[in-house]
């Protein structure tokens, strides 16, 4: 299947400076961009249609380095836009999206202005393997697009 999607960066008049990556949800009967036609869709809209979700994209808002992570919820894969899929993929059951931003704010006792603020995007999925065990695969992605394979 051709998973190529033209990314819509039309973000209208919303203030989005606080976000580095935007999401795009590809359902079996349509697509929702986080920002389109001048308005923001809440992630709740994805949750409301989670059983129809096939692919979930996370891409850099400025297109930096063409960073675009894709979670394939049909096969249970995480890939980038130009990566090749493996020929064989372990059969996975009950594949569920994992996506959130973790915000870590450090403050000083004498001055509550933020001393540091770190935002990491957690992206992946959990599934049941053939023995029924629940497993999680999560990338932790920083705002520069660096990522590690995390465990939560």
């Amino acid at each position: 299947m051709d998973n190529s999607i033209s990314i819509n960066l039309n973000s209208g008049n919303n203030s989005m400076d606080s976000l580095t990556f935007y999401w795009m949800a590809e359902f079996n009967n349509g697509v929702i961009f986080q920002f389109e036609d001048g308005k923001e869709h809440k992630f709740q809209e994805v949750l409301d249609r989670i059983n129809e979700l096939e692919f979930f994209h996370l891409y850099h808002k400025d297109g930096m380095n063409n960073i675009n992570f894709i979670v394939d919820l049909r096969k249970g894969l995480i890939k980038t836009l130009d990566s090749q899929e493996p020929e064989t993929v372990e059969v996975k059951e009950n594949i569920r999206l994992i996506y959130f931003r973790r915000i870590k704010i450090q403050i000083g006792e004498h001055d509550l202005k933020e001393k540091s603020r770190a935002v990491n995007y957690h992206l992946g999925f959990q599934y049941n393997d053939k023995l029924g065990n629940n497993r999680r695969i999560v990338l932790i992605i920083d705002e520069q697009g660096n990522w590690i394979l995390g465990d939560n």
Binding site: M16, E40, R101, R102, I103, E109, H110, K113, K115
Partner: protein, 162 residues
């Protein structure tokens, strides 16, 4: 867009709420944004308790996994910082309470609930205020605590958002 947050402190018998506080100084008065020079804590005494909350505004879907801990700031001899989470507000006291020491690692962090007692804060849901429950903090000293200013502490507030 994403959620924005600010810290809020409550004081006095009738609970005076002050959003957007600028410091978390411990002192000998039940007030927010206090000056430690004006209201120092005497050796062997405790500060007035601080009832701290976070308040979320802006646009978001769900806030969850809210945690609080101390990440830096060496305690001097006899100095401890006590902390308890998900407290009901009562008038702050300067009597040493029996709360636990504030955690100093993420793994031991205090877990915060919403003001409504839920693990998550759902944007726009009926009856949701955007506040967390209270974290109660108190700085306690002993007579062996050296005089003079103590070290500044660094705290971490962490949450997950979609």
């Amino acid at each position: 867009m994403s959620a924005t947050h600010e810290f809020s402190e409550s004081n006095l018998v009738g609970e005076v709420v002050m959003d957007g506080i600028t410091n978390l100084n411990f002192g000998s008065v039940d007030d927010h944004d206090l000056s430690t020079t004006t209201y120092p804590i005497l050796r062997g005494s405790s500060s007035f308790e601080k009832y701290l909350r976070c308040k979320f505004t802006g646009v978001y879907s769900i806030i969850s996994n809210m945690k609080f801990w101390k990440s830096a700031g060496t305690l001097v001899t006899g100095e401890t910082i006590k902390a308890a989470t998900n407290q009901v507000y009562t008038q702050p006291s300067a009597t040493a309470n029996g709360d636990s020491d504030v955690p100093v690692t993420e793994g031991a962090a205090l877990t915060l609930q919403s003001a409504e007692g839920e693990a998550t804060i759902v944007y726009g849901a009926s009856g949701v205020s955007g506040y967390t429950k209270y974290v109660r903090l108190q700085l306690q000293t002993t007579v062996s605590t050296p005089s003079g200013a103590v070290n500044q502490k660094t705290f971490v507030f962490q949450y997950d958002e979609v």
